[in-house]
Each structure stands twice: as C-alpha cells, then as structure tokens.
C-alpha cells in the first residue's frame, strides 16, 4: 500500500469575519498517485477553501485552525512562503475555473505560457517558446503558432481553457488541482476538455483533485469522490460505489435532485427538510464535540 501523493488530515478552518463560523470541519481525504479524486459539494460547502489551502492562497478572513496537508512527506501548511513557492508551479499546478479572468488580457499567450517555464526550468526564451508550442499541440490545438501570438480575447472560452490546461500540465506536476474547470464552458466543449484532462493525466501519471458541484461530471472523470456538506465530509469512496449505492441521505438527495434527460420528472425533488434537519443536527453535534475537546 503505497503512500498517497496528497493526504489531507483533519483539516479545519474558520471564518474570522463571521464570528468564527467553521468553514472546514476536520476534513480528511487522500489522493493516490495517478488518481483523479472528485471533491463535490454545493456552494458554500468549502471545496474551494480546501483547494486554496493546498495552494496557500487562503483569503485573509479565513483561518486554518488544525490538521495537515501532506504532500510528498511534507506538511504544506507548515512551509514558509519561499518553500511553498518552490513547490507550486513545479509540483502542484492549478486549472482555474474561469478562463477569461485567469489570463492577463494585456499579454500575449506565448508570454504568459513561458513565464513558468523560464522561471522554474531556467529555459531560454526560444526554448521556452518551443516547449509551449509542443504543449499546445499536446492539448490538440491545431494552430499553435497562431494561438501563441494571440491575445486572450481573441480566443474562445474552450481554447483559453486548453491553454490553461497546457500551462498547468506543462511543468509536469505531480498534482493538478482543477477548480471547476468546465463550469463556464458549453456542454460540448466541456466533454472535449474532460477528455483532454483525462488523457493528459493518464499519460503523465498526474494526480488530480477535481473540484466540482456537478455530480455528472464527477461521475465521468473521477476514480474516487468526497462529498462535502458545510465543510464536513459526509461520504467518501470509489465513484462507482458512491453513485450506485450511496450510504448518506445527503448523497441520495443530491442524486435525486439532479435532473436527467433520460428520465422525465427528475430534478424536481429538493433535498427533503428531514435530511437537512438531520444534517444540521450532525453538524451541531460535531461542533459541540469539537468545542469540548478543545476545552478539555
């Protein structure tokens, strides 16, 4: 049983602006080498907070109060800024959610893509550009030279996301965090992008933490999945198991609330109030015991 590449252990966080309201409640999850792990939850569940915690970009009003994020034997939370900078970009990369805001509108694509290559690999400008071109080919862009010379606004959303994916995988990182990478895309483009991520990930053996609110997307690309509700893990396991035989009532409710084109009259079932009440009770009990163990 090899050590997982990324291991989050009992990660907890609170919101300082909201009267110390807990945002993450002892979240634990593990991503193996070469695994695509889905992080699913509705908005406010804490999924992007986890992603930000890994990358060290948690906003100032959020405070991490406990746990560790183990990456290749080192706790990312205990590293200094410069140590973290070493790892980011080289070993851990991000595919952001919105391709239109993730790229600098005033700089050409080749400049933005070669930044990382030149910084981390000390490549010369010409070598970096060649590598960028090769990366664009890898993400199946037919005309890489044209794209390299373009500005972001000249490219479509799907194209921009391909560029970002190329940049993320470009340094051959060990872990890629994909933060809702297809939410802003048309459904046909989404499929192409998911296929792309999967093939790149298989080819390079990269681990992926795939954050999404869409159970359908997670079903198609993730090997394992963690379901979050209000910062607490409610279910975790192989995607097949969780989808076919969900154990927690919330997971079942989520599945029932999803509309399906192959089944009319789905998508009209909101989470039943009993489930919400039970969840709230679960969370309250958890918070109470957490307080107790802190005082004790």
């Amino acid at each position: 049983m090899t050590m997982p590449r990324l291991s989050i252990e009992t990660l907890s966080a609170i919101s300082l602006r909201d009267g110390n309201r807990p945002i993450l409640r002892r979240v634990s999850l593990a991503v193996d080498t070469g695994e695509v792990h889905g992080l699913v939850g509705e908005s406010g569940a804490g999924k992007s907070t986890i992603a930000k915690a890994i990358l060290g970009i948690v906003p100032s009003q959020v405070k991490i109060t406990g746990g560790r994020i183990d990456f290749e034997g080192r706790d990312l939370l205990s590293l200094s800024a410069s140590e973290l900078r070493e790892i980011l970009g080289r070993d851990i990369a991000l595919i952001p959610q919105d391709p239109s805001t993730a790229l600098n509108p005033a700089r050409r694509i080749d400049a933005q893509m070669t930044d990382g290559l030149r910084l981390k690999r000390n490549l010369l400008a010409s070598e970096a550009r060649r590598r960028a071109r090769a990366l664009l080919e890898e993400v199946q862009i037919r005309d890489p030279d044209r794209v390299l010379s373009s500005y972001p606004h000249q490219l479509s959303g799907g194209m921009r996301q391909r560029v970002l994916i190329a940049a993320a995988f470009g340094l051959e990182p060990k872990l890629v965090i994909a933060d809702e990478p297809t939410t802003a895309l048309d459904v046909t483009v989404q499929k192409q992008i998911l296929r792309l991520i999967r093939s790149l990930q298989e080819r390079h053996g990269t681990s992926v933490l795939f954050v999404s609110h869409d159970l359908g997307v997670v079903a198609k690309i993730c090997d394992r999945v963690t379901v979050l509700y209000m910062g607490k893990v409610v279910e975790q396991g192989a995607t097949a198991d969780v989808l076919k035989s969900p154990r927690h009532a919330y997971t079942k409710a989520l599945l029932a609330a999803n509309p399906r084109y192959d089944r009319p009259d789905t998508g009209l079932e909101p989470t039943p109030p009993e489930v919400i009440a039970a969840l709230r009770a679960e969370i309250a009990a958890f918070d109470a015991s957490a307080m107790g163990s802190r005082d004790g």
Partner: protein, 282 residues
C-alpha cells in the same frame, strides 16, 4: 395539440452599424437567421442551445424587446412587431419575463414590496395600495416566501429567494405567457429543484404558457413538453421532448445529448464521439 398563443415566423435579427459617416456598407452581425417557433396556450416549450445559438435574442424578440429585421411575432392574434411601444403597452401585462440574474433584475434601491406592488397598481389590478399589498402577500405565500420579505431589499435575500421574487413578479399580473431566461443557471441543484418545481406547479395552476430558455438539456426535460434546439441562430430540431430525447433526428442534437454527463458510471463515455465533434480550432 394546444391552441396557439404565440407564433413567430421567419424571425431575423441583425445588429448593424453603418461604417463611418459615408456608409460604405454595414458591418452587421446576424443573430437569428429566420426562426419559426410556436407556443401553445398553457404549454411549456424549452429553447435550448449553446452560447451563440441566439436563444436569448429569440426570447427578447418574442417579448417585443428587440425589433426584428424581418419576420413577425403574433401574440393571441395581434402582430406585435407591427405595433409601436404605446400600442404594445396593454399587451405587456399578458407577457412577462423571469431573468437569469436576480441581482441585476431586482432594483437594489427598491424594497421587494415596491417591486411587486407597483406593477399591480400600474395595471389597475387592485383599487388601493392596501388591496395591492394584500394581493402581494398572497403571491409571496404562493411562491414560498415569508410575508416579511415585503420589506426586504434584494441584497438581503439568498439566491433562491431572489429567484422566487423574480417568479412572483412575473406571475403577479396573471399573464398568459412567461419567458424564463436561464433562470436556474448558477443555483445549487437543490435550490434549482425547488424553483423548477414551483414553476411547474404555477404553470399548471394558472394555465400559463412558458418559454424556457436554457443551455441545460436535462433541466429542460424536467419541465418542458416540447423542445426547440437552436444552433447559431437557426432552429435545428423541434418536437415533443419525449421524441426528441429518445430519438433525436439531427446530428447536432445527438451530439448535444451525448455530451451531457449523467451521474452514472459509463467508462466509454469520454472517448465516444471524439471524431464527430468540432475540432480544437474553436
């Protein structure tokens, strides 16, 4: 087959700007290339398409918010494209709209009460302010909002609550036709389910015709009887939902349906249809 309420024929919408002072030719973008669509009384029709399909423009043309370059929109016998703004006003009560973003469709400086009561008074649906207020309380009850909402501002409400206000505003005048433009995009799946269920109930109760614009085919399936599939300003396919989803006639429709990820385990899904799709020059 429901009796027709809204029929559009040959709708063409272009945005054109003459070049310079000496117009040597128009640089124009044609968004709709001759679209036909009909909505029957009490019928829910889904209008689906990806970005650039022209679905939003079609919706606005149906409501008379956008002037078509060609074609006609006939609402209950009257050609609204031929009418000017003043003549169209009496029809306004009967055709309403729900917007995608409740934040930008609810005036932040107005209380919810003001947003709902003023249209009632404008169209004379209540004799006094008191009566209007009572009517609005009734609508709030129906859409599942507390009566206290009447004194709130939009920014004090959650996304789902705001969308309910949007629905309330659309139905408070008891229209015959409502256009819903991407109203559940951006909502959590559970909130989405509540909103869709409410809408379905209301259209049934009020015998309301509904044109439901969405990029999400699964959502359309859940509440629509018929569906119109659009691509780049043209209707690609249309028909009863059951038929279109079970056996799509157009290749584009098949591609759209196939691209939808269902929450099921399907190992071949990712690689299926790879050669047919648009290549990465898009």
């Amino acid at each position: 087959m429901a009796e027709d309420l809204l029929v559009a024929n040959g709708l063409v919408v272009s945005y054109g700007q003459p070049r310079g002072l000496f117009a040597r030719g128009r640089s124009s973008a044609t968004v709709l290339h001759g679209v036909d669509i009909r909505v029957g009384k009490g019928e829910t029709v889904g209008i689906v398409g990806e970005s650039g399909s022209g679905k939003t423009t079609l919706g606005r043309a149906l409501l008379g918010l956008v002037k078509p370059t060609a074609g006609s929109v006939v609402f209950d016998g009257s050609d609204i494209t031929a009418l000017d703004e003043r003549a169209r006003r009496p029809l306004r009560r009967r055709m309403q709209m729900i917007f995608q973003d409740p934040m930008s469709s609810l005036n932040p400086r107005h209380t919810i009460g003001r947003i709902l009561i003023e249209p009632v008074l404008l169209h004379g649906l209540a004799e006094s302010h008191q009566a209007a207020r009572a009517l609005v309380y009734g609508v709030l009850d129906r859409v599942g909002l507390s009566r206290g909402t009447i004194d709130r501002y939009s920014y004090e409400l959650s996304g789902g609550q705001r969308q309910r206000v949007g629905i309330a505003r659309a139905v408070v005048l008891r229209p015959d036709f409502v256009l819903a433009d991407e109203i559940v995009s951006g909502l959590d799946v559970s909130t989405q389910a509540q909103v869709l269920r409410l809408l379905k109930e209301l259209t049934g109760e009020m015998h309301l015709a509904l044109a439901f614009i969405s990029h999400d085919l699964s959502v359309v399936r859940s509440i629509c009887q018929r569906v119109v599939v659009m691509r780049e300003g043209r209707v690609v396919e249309e028909g009863p939902c059951e038929g279109v989803f079970a056996a799509p006639a157009a290749a584009y429709t098949r591609m759209l349906i196939d691209a939808i990820p269902l929450p099921t385990i399907d190992p071949g899904w990712l690689t299926r249809g790879a050669s047919v799709e648009a290549t990465a020059t898009v």
